[in-house]
Amino acid sequence: MSKMDVEKIRQDFPILQKSNLIYFDNACVTLKPRQVIEALNRYYNDFPSCAGRSSHRLGRMVDEEVDKAREVAARFFNAKAKEMIFTRNTTEAINLLAHTLPLKAGDRVLTTDKEHNSNLVPWLIAASTRGVKHETVMSNPDGTFNLDNFRAKMDKSTKLVSMVYTSNLDGVTNPAREIIKIAHDHGAHVLLDAAQTAPHRPIDVRALDVDFLACSGHKMLGPSGTGILYGKAALLENLPHYIAGGGTVIDSTYESFKPEKVPERFEAGLQDYAGIIGLGAALQYLSKLGLQNVEKHESDLNRTMTEGISNIKGLSIIGSADSSLRGGIVSFNLNGIDSHEVAMLLDRNANIAIRSGAHCVHSWFNAHGMKGSARASLYIYNTREECNIFLEQLKKIAALVK
């Protein structure tokens, strides 16, 4: 097993201490450790004030805490602090770029066939309103990335490759380094949707040489309504406002305004300071555990899950049969039972929380003539015992259709 002391970790999560909950919906939202909850409370209890505007002591305290959170986030991704923009979530981060990148009619944007609606719909809108050409790179049958298909799609008109880093559908992580290299060779920028990667494996944006990267705080122990957009400083500085207003300009007259420098230019209005500070605490928590350990722990559990599932008749896993390719995600369907029914039965019978449906990847399910799937997604506080209980319950549910 991994080096992490899971029992000790579990003690940090209040909800796990007061119930027998088995939480396998981590790809949607993770549980929150008390360190994050305390950070949120600290803001509201000790310095519930403005950052970047007020000169009083409380204001300065918020400034310091937000700066600290930004520094933590920068270290987490090996970036500079000014390259970290706090957003509400991955969706907002991607929309920010979809609205501000200088894409014009005829420019091509490539995505994969397994994009979350957050990294599909903004480009479909850009295609319909600005004449941007949107194209899809099809994956291999087992869900892994097809580099040949990707190379074949690349040409000079391709200005942006906006791809999911780790799929929330099947857990497959795309070969970002190769994708970025090929894209850069063709003069295209790369945006990685790392909502399912950042919480589970180390990301070094410098080593990847990625241009933009987006992730959500709520999927990595952080508070809801928090996210991060990383962008290379040189690229961010050339982008115009997305949402303009308080905090995004240095000065204004009745006729003009002078934009703030990055990242403040993109953080309009009063921010969710408590959330940002909480996100900083979450990233610290994860850094302390070590993302390599997190990755290994999930991989070990997924092996247990996959081996167990392969013994259940009528159950099929979406994506690769090799659990090591699917991170901490097990997406599956049970013959004769709808995925929502599976999720409800697990919840009612054993207090197991999983996700069911199309997981916001409707396009993939529609293309494959499927309604959806049940999805168990693992994280740091999950145990092998929980996996075994889950498998036992799945066997009982499978027996319903015998």
């Binding site: 709808d338 409800m344 019978n349």
Partner: protein
């Protein structure tokens, strides 16, 4: 999907008393509406109901849970038909209670009137029979009067007949408990029933003036 019909009625009633059922009731009614307009229920409400039922059974009886899961569609239809039938029967009962004062005007076996204390005790019936047989009956009377034991409206009618007897009105006693074959022979569906010599009928309880008009025709 048909299970939504039952849910809509049950949850509709529950939602009168508790707000927590209103959302479910709304969903159930939405499903019923979709069903009546030949469209599929799009809220998954029927599936939720199925899962709730199956999950409870899984804990106690896994084989039964499997059976219910597999045959849920058929079972839903059976329950829905039974439900509609029992709903209709309940409506008829309420109608009888309102019109005849008993939910079983034919057989006289109305649990509701017995529970409520408005029914007729055996002693009262005996008493009523004595009253009826001694005061108002004449075997040569042209109008047949069908009555039975345990029928509160027959007792009530007896009071009316008692009043009319003082004016000389009589009826021929046709005690159905003594001769049950009369139910079919005379095609009686409820009591009391008056039948004139020309076959004209007057069924159910009637006040003195109406009974008098009926008997006057055959004086």
């Amino acid at each position: 999907m048909v299970i939504c019909i039952i849910a809509a009625v049950a949850l509709g009633i529950l939602s009168i008393f508790s707000a927590k059922y209103r959302k479910w009731a709304k969903e159930a009614f939405h499903c019923v509406f979709r069903m009546t307009t030949l469209r599929k229920c799009d809220t998954e409400f029927d599936r939720k109901l199925k899962t709730v039922i199956v999950s409870r059974l899984m804990v106690k009886h896994s084989k039964m849970a499997g059976f219910v899961h597999r045959q849920f569609g058929i079972l839903s239809w059976i329950f829905a038909i039974l439900f509609i039938f029992s709903l209709g029967y309940t409506g008829l009962t309420v109608y009888n209670l309102a019109v005849y004062g008993t939910c079983d005007p034919v057989g006289g076996n109305c649990v509701l009137t017995q529970i409520a204390g408005t029914g007729t005790s055996p002693q009262e019936c005996v008493q009523a029979d004595v009253l009826i047989s001694t005061a108002y009956f004449d075997n040569s009377a042209p109008v047949l009067y069908f009555y039975q034991d345990g029928c509160p409206w027959c007792i009530k009618e007896a009071t009316v007949l008692g009043t009319l007897a003082k004016e000389g009105y009589k009826v021929k006693p046709m005690h159905l408990n003594s001769k049950p074959e009369w139910w079919n022979e005379y095609n009686i569906s409820l009591t009391p029933t008056f039948i004139g010599p020309d076959g004209t009928r007057m069924t159910g309880y009637h006040e003195a003036d109406l009974v008098k008009v009926f008997l006057d025709k055959y004086k």
